[in-house]
Symmetry: C2
Subunit: 215 residues, 2 copies
DNA sequence: AATTAAATTTAGACAAAGCTAAAAATTATA
DNA sequence: TATAATTTTTAGCTTTGTCTAAATTTAATT
């Protein structure tokens, strides 16, 4: 499997986890910052290899084989992210691009040994679940902070947006995985939130609240 | 720089370290298991980028820029090999192919952090030197066991051949880096050696002795 | 020195993965 | 429902890195 094929599978996998329905050519093109015509070419190729179910003009979905392959790439990506943060002391906003490269290294033995070396983590540094060697995922039920009501208290367990900008903002506000967050006030005018993080009180926009997972 | 370009640079670097003279197209082709015509194409490209000095029909050598680039690839390869052996518990005969992939990961920060994580090793699991971040190499003077004479004693500090077969043979004979080796007898007929490794006495062929570095 | 052999390069072709522009199918709208 | 707008696909071109076969240059040998 080529790097490019792997990237397409991963993208389709991620898009599927949001929408459930078949994925459109344009959606893939947009996510991958490529052209629709390139996507069409690749879908034919992946279909040929039984990695996706593809019908012209109708969109695409992963076959079982494709889904497992995608999960293995996600597994690698997230395990490498753990390695970078926990062992090499990278911060959580720096690891994505490097993991994007490392996820394509081909060696099952390597990834399973890495898994053991890291103590078989179930989540990556952004709170996303890590599939095991069989592709099984432990789902943690979690809500967006934006769906919380006044006086509710929860623990930050993940981020939806993993962009460097967002993660650096969180660092600045001292919001990390494991932080306790309490809703003090919900401003009805702009849907912003007054929250307590640890001992500090801060105001965050609705956009921020819509990208924080709480349990 | 593409994977392919990096592989050519690395190959030229390795060939240079043996012969010193300009490298021939065929030598590169043979080492890389590709065709001479493909090599010619790539040499033009590398020359265009000032990574090699290339004159038609005359052979090729690395420029300073090319040599530094090659050293950085070798640095990455050998640091990753250390990681695999020391942290993930791979054996020394398993790491080459995986490091061959990992050496192409692009991130200076990553490789320098990995270097620190490993305690800034100066040699890889086969006894080969690891260039530092500036490309400097600590040269250790070492001899082939085959050049030793009767009654000489030394420590095994490296292997010339790093093929899995050879390394497994050494494991079987309990010869490892750091093993003390004493020449008991040199058989003039076939140039084989009777040696003492630790407490055991064994006989090894000249081919084996020609691939073991001793200090 | 002439000829043969070997090494090297050139020319032209191919597969992968991308692109643009045009055609076709689907969806939305008047 | 007919037309317009959007989406998707097709056709053809480009680049990278490879190949084969032919041409050229260098080296070896008579």
């Amino acid at each position: 499997m080529t790097f490019s094929e792997e990237n397409y599978l991963k993208t389709i996998y991620h898009l599927t986890s949001v929408s459930d329905a078949d994925i459109s050519t344009n959606a893939i093109a947009e996510k991958m910052e490529t052209k629709a015509s390139s996507v069409t070419d690749m879908l034919k190729k992946l279909s040929e290899k039984d990695l996706v179910n593809y019908i012209k003009y109708q969109g695409v979905s992963l076959t079982d084989k494709g889904k497992l392959a995608a999960k293995m790439i996600v597994r690698k990506h997230r395990l490498w992210e753990c390695f970078l943060v926990e062992k090499l002391d990278f911060s959580w906003d720096e690891v994505h691009d490097i993991a994007e490269q490392l996820e394509h290294i081909k060696s099952e033995k390597l990834i399973n040994k890495l898994d053991d070396f890291l103590g078989n983590p179930t989540e990556d540094p952004h709170g996303d679940p890590i599939p095991d060697a069989q592709g099984r995922i432990i789902k943690v039920e979690k809500q967006l902070l934006s769906e919380f009501e006044k006086n509710q208290i929860g623990i930050c367990v993940g981020v939806k947006d993993t962009s460097s900008d967002f993660l650096k903002y969180l660092d600045k506000q001292e919001i990390a995985l494991g932080s306790q967050i309490e809703i003090i006030e919900k401003e009805s005018f702009d849907s912003s939130f007054r929250i307590r993080v640890g001992t500090k009180e801060i105001t965050i926009s609705n956009k921020i609240a819509s990208n924080l997972y709480i349990k």
